[in-house]
Symmetry: C2
């Protein structure tokens, strides 16, 4: 893990956050730590959709600042096929097939969803685990670790295979491969699932079915009005409460 930049973000409203960009095995990432921390802090891994870190930066830094206000570090890495990383060829084709099906109002076949999501999950999950190795070796990061948001299939797989992740806040999505749906039954960590009730890109019933499938004894669904990007401010505060209960 090689840090390539460091700056202190300070808007005068809080104690500020130190933002460091890094590269790990040629994968770019960003780490945010609360300026005021004097002891090792818990860590939240910030998931995001595969649109590239640069495009997602404004939302990511807002989430990182919010995490810092609760005393948590936050970190993220670029997804396979996004940003400046090499494309995943099959995934691009599946994405085009998905858009064609949606525009034609046709049902999206399972083979399209599998081809779109599974290669991403298979490649991304070990990368997040490697990032976790490096992040937890830093003296300022203590743990425990939470995972928050992004591609829900990546969150599900990580929750199953990565024992260092003790709680996950997931964003409901309906394009979930059947194999991931089955893995969801093996998830046992506490979950906090956000659902946008009128999400234009997601099937509500599929999202409710996935929530039902999770094996966790503690799982909470927070459904709010509005479309995919209309998550209300207070939903973030409730999620912060969830992580505070489980990472403190």
């Amino acid at each position: 893990m090689r840090f390539t930049s460091e700056q202190r973000l300070d808007d005068g409203l809080d104690d500020g956050v130190v933002e460091r960009e890094f590269v790990l095995d040629e994968i770019p990432g960003i780490l945010w730590t609360p300026s005021s921390a004097s002891a090792p802090v818990p860590l939240i891994l910030l998931g995001h959709p595969p649109l590239g870190l640069r495009r997602m930066y404004p939302r990511l830094v807002a989430r990182a600042r919010s995490a810092a206000a609760y005393g948590f570090a936050a970190a993220t890495i670029e997804l396979p096929g996004s940003g400046d990383r090499p494309r995943l060829p099959g995934v691009e084709q599946a994405g085009a097939a998905l858009r064609r099906a949606l525009e034609a109002g046709e049902p999206v076949g399972e083979e399209i969803i599998d081809a779109l999501v599974l290669p991403l999950v298979d490649k991304a999950v070990p990368e997040w685990q490697t990032a976790l190795d490096a992040l937890l070796s830093l003296p300022e990061i203590g743990g425990p670790v939470g995972f928050s948001g992004g591609v829900i299939s990546i969150g599900v797989r990580l929750a199953v295979v990565e024992p260092r992740i003790v709680a996950a806040g997931l964003f409901a999505g309906s394009f979930v491969p059947r194999v991931i749906f089955e893995e969801a039954r093996q998830v046992t960590i506490p979950l906090h699932v956000l659902l946008q009730w009128d999400d234009e890109g997601n099937d509500r019933q599929a999202a409710l079915d996935l929530f039902d499938a999770f094996g966790s004894k503690e799982k909470t669904l927070h459904a709010n009005m509005g479309g995919h990007t209309g998550v209300p401010q207070f939903a973030g505060e409730d999620a912060a409460g969830f992580f505070t209960r489980h990472l403190r």
Copy 2:
């Protein structure tokens, strides 16, 4: 409104609550105010199932203490047909018919639900409005007013007809008469709806349909694991956050 008792409840953990029992038009009720309040405070009306105030007291006083910790007064009145109040004859018969249908595993007909719920709603709602008149005339109660929990059909009707109620926290129930379901579309105040995912006494899909029907632009569904009485502690904290946003 005639106060019949007054005591200070103080467990040493908080600033304490003053509990006053009252009688209004022969209906018993209880008012809790934060001991430390120096200015008029907002009010939360505490709904409850028709099991009698005495039986519900432990849960009601816990909710009132929690409200007081956020600076709110809380009040409740006995429901028609409950406690020492005269029975509602048709409602008792409908309750017996409901139990027979449930025990036999038969679908519960709409006429049973109507006979069970509508007389209660029709009689209770004007009583809560009269209680609100009296409570808001007290110098220590300022407003605004929220309604919390209890029989969801009463909450729906109150949210439609009582403009002084500006926000409602409802507990999902599936035995909702068709006429109340239609009234739900007219609700416009912010709603916070709790759903117990495995509630033995409620149909999950019916509860989701009712949530969908509410006309409010801001409505949030919080679904948690467990049965009817298994609402987790943190669900109460999220609800407190909801009322703090809307009553402050």
